[in-house]
C-alpha cells in the first residue's frame, strides 16, 4: 500500500511548534515567583501536546516527521522547564540532572535504533509515553510546590526502569518487520 506524502507545514506540526511559545511566559512567571501563572503556562504546554495528535487525526496529516518533531518538542520543552524550576530552587537539582541525563540517553538510543533500521523513525514506547506525561506533571508539582521531593526523587527510578526495558528493545532485540502503512 502506498503511503501518502504529508507536507511538514501542516496544522498538527503548527500546534506542536506553538508549544514553544509558552516557554518565555513560563520563564517570566517563574522569575517573578508567580507559581499559579507558571502552573497555568505549563498546563497549556501539556494540553497542546494532547491537541496536536487530535489535529493530526482530524486533518489526516500524521507523518513520521510529525512523530519525531513531537518527541523532540517534548524533550526540549520539558527539559528546559525542568532546568528553569531547578535553577530557581523550586525543584531539587540532583533528580532534575538525573532526569535530563536519562532523557539524553533515551535520545541517543533512539538515534541508534533509527540507524539500525536505516530510516528516520521513532520507536513506539508505551511506557516512555507515560514517563513523558509524568515529566509534564513534575513541572506542575514544582510550580505548585506539591510534594516536590517525593515526586522528583521517584521520577528517575521509574524512568531508569523504562530506559532499561526500552534500551534492550532498541539496541539488542531483533528489528521488527516493517508493517504496511
Amino acid at each position: 500500500m502506498h503511503r501518502r506524502e504529508v507536507s511538514k507545514w501542516n496544522p498538527a506540526n503548527a500546534v506542536t511548534a506553538s508549544r514553544f511559545l509558552t516557554l518565555p511566559l513560563f520563564v517570566w512567571a517563574v522569575q517573578h515567583g508567580y507559581r499559579q501563572w507558571a502552573t497555568l503556562f505549563i498546563l497549556v504546554c501539556g494540553l497542546l501536546d494532547k491537541l496536536d495528535g487530535l489535529v493530526a487525526r482530524m486533518f489526516d496529516c500524521r507523518s513520521a516527521f510529525g512523530e519525531m518533531f513531537d518527541a523532540i518538542t517534548d524533550a526540549l520543552c520539558y527539559g528546559f522547564a525542568l532546568i528553569v524550576v531547578a535553577w530557581h530552587g523550586w525543584a531539587p537539582a540532583i533528580p532534575v540532572a538525573l532526569a535530563i541525563a536519562l532523557g539524553l540517553t533515551n535520545t541517543a538510543m533512539r538515534a541508534q535504533y533509527a540507524r539500525r533500521i536505516g530510516r528516520a523513525t521513532n520507536y513506539k514506547s508505551y511506557a516512555m509515553e507515560r514517563v513523558v506525561a509524568y515529566t509534564g506533571y513534575l513541572i506542575g508539582f514544582a510550580t505548585g510546590n506539591m510534594e516536590v521531593t517525593y515526586f522528583f526523587w521517584l521520577f528517575p527510578v521509574v524512568m531508569g526502569l523504562v530506559l532499561l526495558h526500552d534500551g534492550k528493545r532498541m539496541l539488542l532485540d531483533p528489528i521488527p518487520a516493517a508493517r504496511p502503512a
Binding site: E129, R130, Y134, M146, Y150, L154, H165
Partner: protein
Amino acid sequence: MNVISDTQFEWFLTLAVGLLAGVWLVYDAINLIRTAGADGQDPVIRDKRFGYVIGMVIGVIGLVGVLRFRGML
C-alpha cells in the same frame, strides 16, 4: 500576582492530580486486562503490557502524592 486564592489553588492541584492519577490507574488496568488473551510472545504485546504496568505505577505514585499533600499519609 495570583489568579485564585492559595487555598483554591491547593484544592485545584489536589483534584487535578487526584482525578488524573485515579483515572490513569483504572484506564491502564483496563488496558492491561484487555491484553490478557493476546499472544505473549509478540514483542509489541509485551511492550504494551509493560507500558500499562508503568502507567499503573505512575497512577499509584500520583494518588500517594495527593494523600501526602493533604496530610493523610
